[in-house]
């Protein structure tokens, strides 16, 4: 009995692997294909799923309007589990199966790993979920772009806001001890000095740390006006803010893009109230008059869409726009032509997803706005106008 089970189990395995190995590749159908290494499982899955939805929605808007010069746009993507080796595997799988000129990468690690391959292939440009400052260097990463400000620019936007609100303010930086977390520290020091702001303490927390009591004590000693977090999604921010509140600290807490989704704060209750941060896109529920694209999104998806959705949406929009410009000019789609076309984007209207016309002179769009969380409405509400670092 047991033997039969064992044998059939092995037989099943052999059968599955045989059939798997004999599958064929998809045919080239003239579509413009956007490839994607997307984190649909793992720690970053919440973003990956939202990004995919955002990209698909923009692509269907484009296809409904007839595609690009009659060619349909299609997203070919697979799950990476937010692991670099799997992201590279997906990249190789998709680029062997399809003719890909546009790609979405899921992490800084992947972007850095695949950069030499992009330079070798010279056939595509890549956007992605990473806003790493290191990638915002057209010399070192000629085929990479990001659909928003890099992490240093996000900090710069926050610091400009602070300098306006409270000149000479005392600031504490709290960063996670990871590549992601440490990214904007150096440039933030320089920017703060330039704006006459005073960074009184820099706290580095171990990745995944939950107990933050010693860090909160440091915060109490420093008595900052503003505390800037970076390198986290949510934890341990609510804990930090709860303990600071208990100690009677009046500091204002701020974060960057990936911790700015209002749905992740909804579970934290009152403690989240007043949390501020920088956001390059409008929120799903923003009913500004000059944002027709948001009306369109709400018509397509009646339920709330996370910030990752907007990120994917704008990334797809920029990819499509660059392709359009290349095709209109009668050029061939490749890394160089697409990047050049992307850099010609000037005062471009995103349909209000980003509140001001955007330009992409390099690898990033250094524009953002400061929002504040209102726990009673469970919404992020704007507290500043759009801040551009380009002027």
């Amino acid at each position: 009995m047991f033997n039969v089970t064992k044998r059939s189990f092995i037989g099943l395995m052999a059968g599955v692997s045989m059939t798997l190995l004999t599958s064929g590749a998809m045919a080239d159908d003239g579509d413009i294909v956007i490839g994607g290494s997307l984190p649909l499982t793992g720690v970053f899955a919440f973003a990956g799923v939202a990004i995919e939805a955002g990209m698909q929605d923009y692509i269907s808007i484009v296809n409904e309007a007839g595609g690009i010069d009659g060619r349909k746009v299609r997203l070919a993507y697979e799950d990476t589990g937010y692991k670099v080796d799997q992201s590279v595997a997906v990249f190789n799988k998709l680029t062997s199966q399809e003719d890909i000129h546009l790609y979405y990468g899921d992490s800084t690690g992947f972007a850095k790993t695949i950069a030499p391959e992009l330079a070798r292939k010279q056939s595509m440009i890549m956007g992605g979920a990473s806003f790493a400052s290191e990638l915002n260097d057209p010399e070192a990463f000629p085929y990479t772009f990001m659909a928003g400000p890099d992490y240093s620019e996000m900090f710069s936007i926050l610091l400009e806001y602070i300098a306006k609100e409270k000149p000479g303010a005392k600031i504490v930086l709290v960063n996670s001890d990871s590549e992601f977390g440490r990214d904007p520290i150096e440039p933030a020091r320089a920017k703060a000095a330039e704006l006459g702001l005073n960074i009184v303490e820099e706290i580095i927390t171990p990745p995944g740390s939950v107990d933050v009591s010693t860090e909160v004590l440091k915060l109490r000693r420093a008595q900052p006006d503003y505390t800037l977090f970076h390198g986290y999604i949510l934890a341990p921010l609510p804990e930090f803010m709860t303990q600071a509140k208990e100690l009677g600290l009046t500091t204002k807490f701020m974060g960057t893009f990936w911790s700015m989704d209002s749905s992740i704060w909804a579970g934290s209750g009152d403690v989240a109230d007043g949390f501020m941060g920088v956001m390059p896109y409008r929120y799903y529920y923003d009913d500004a008059a000059d944002a027709p694209m948001l009306d369109r999104i709400r018509a397509m998806r009646p339920e709330y869409q996370a910030t990752g959705y907007m990120q994917g949406f704008v990334t797809a929009m920029l990819m499509v726009e660059a392709s359009k410009r290349v095709i209109d000019a009668g050029d061939e789609l490749n890394g160089a032509t697409l990047k050049t076309a992307l850099n010609t984007i000037k005062d471009f209207d995103t349909g209000g997803v980003i509140g001001v016309p955007i330009s992409i002179p390099g690898n990033s769009i250094p524009v953002g706005r400061v929002y504040q969380y209102d726990s009673s409405a469970q919404k992020m509400l704007p507290v500043s106008d759009w801040i551009s670092l380009q002027e």
């Binding site: 089970t5 064992k6 189990f9 092995i10 395995m13 599955v16 692997s17 798997l20 190995l21 599958s23 997307l38 649909l40 499982t41 899955a45 799923v49 995919e52 698909q56 993507y77 697979e78 799950d79 589990g81 670099v84 080796d85 799997q86 590279v88 595997a89 190789n92 799988k93 680029t95 062997s96 199966q97 690690g109 850095k112 790993t113 030499p116 070798r120 290191e134 001890d177 990871s178 590549e179 977390g181 440490r182």
Partner: protein
């Protein structure tokens, strides 16, 4: 049907491959390794390289855990040591890549000896915890010794170069990685025909008895750690040339568990076990992608909906093997061999 293998010389007794079918299969395997990159597209070439790197690392861990009985969860950290050594040498000294990879293995081995010292006092789970602790210390060093490791943003590695040709494509890198992997596995097979290898097995089976038999535990346990770390270092060095950037996040703790799982699933204490285990652990999640792909014509957004299922299926497969085949996949291969050897009789 093979009734028995009569060995008439000492040479025949010591041979790695004792039967004709074994020799034939080995020739087929080597031939397919040579032909593979010409048949594969970039995706499969990439996977082949990745599998071979994991084979080297898993084989090293198998020497330590499968053959010497010392549980280690630090193999990924030793891979990182190898990768960082290669990256540092590439940046600072510009030495040829083969030298870098060898030194990567050497440095990893040296650190492996230090990390192996607790094995003289503690065994089993306690040793596993000690190696975990060591890997966290190493991780801290990688993240904070900025002048050497480049801190959290790591070190970029320039392509390996041979006779002025840069090894850029997976096809080219395959010809670096495949021969090294074959040599390392062959060396392991040979190791267990020597006094050292036999001593490792004796220590695994009963360390006190081994000591009574005249095997100095200190020397041999540390030697086992050194060899395992050397393998990890070589694997890490090849990894560095393969991915071309090394950061503290390149070798997470999960990689150590991945490698331990590979040798358990493949079959601990057998040469083929580590090889098959590494292949299984690396390729199964990739092969499961095709299942998702097939369903996609009928199910829109199949990748989004089914990717979590893929992870669950992979986990369930590992559990399935542990329950139905605790000796690992290597045992299945043995059973298949027996079946054909005594055919038409029942095993």
């Amino acid at each position: 049907m093979i009734i028995g293998t009569a060995k008439e010389t000492y040479g025949a007794d010591q041979a790695l491959l004792t039967t004709r079918p074994q020799q034939v299969w080995m020739v087929i395997l080597l031939a397919s390794l040579l032909v593979a990159p010409f048949v594969f597209n970039a995706y499969w070439q990439y996977l082949a390289c990745l599998v071979l790197i994991n084979v080297v690392a898993a084989t090293g861990l198998n020497i330590l855990t499968g053959f010497t009985g010392q549980v280690s969860l630090g193999q990924a950290a030793f891979m990182a040591v190898g990768a960082y050594t290669v990256a540092w040498l590439d940046r600072e000294a510009g030495t040829p890549f083969l030298v870098n990879i060898l030194l990567g293995g050497g440095v990893a081995a040296a650190i492996g000896i230090v990390v192996g010292i607790p094995s003289l006092r503690v065994k089993g789970l306690y040793l596993a915890i000690a190696t975990i602790a060591a890997s966290f210390i190493l991780h801290f060093i990688f993240a904070h010794w900025t002048s050497v490791t480049g801190g959290s943003s790591g070190i970029n590695v320039s392509p390996a170069r041979i006779f002025g040709i840069e090894l850029l494509t997976y096809f080219q890198l395959y010809w670096l990685i495949m021969p090294v992997a074959v040599l390392m596995v062959l060396a392991t097979a040979n190791l267990f025909r020597t006094r050292i290898g036999r001593a490792f097995i004796a220590i695994r089976d009963r360390d006190i008895s081994a000591e009574v038999l005249g095997i100095p535990l200190l020397r041999y346990k540390l030697m086992s750690f050194a060899i395992a770390s050397f393998y990890a270092g070589i694997a890490g060095g090849m990894w560095a040339y393969f991915f071309r950037v090394v950061t503290p996040e390149s070798f997470p703790f999960l990689t150590s568990i991945f490698l331990l799982a590979a040798i358990i699933v493949g079959g601990m204490g057998t040469i083929i076990g580590a090889v098959i285990g590494a292949i299984f652990m690396t390729l199964t999640p990739e092969l499961l992608r095709y299942v998702v792909e097939w369903v996609s014509p009928w199910l829109p957004n199949a990748a989004t909906l089914l990717s979590p299922v893929r992870t669950v299926v992979f986990g369930a497969l590992i559990m399935g093997f542990l329950v139905f085949e605790p000796q690992g996949i290597a045992e299945i291969i043995q059973r298949i061999r027996r079946y054909f050897r005594v055919w038409p009789f029942k095993t």
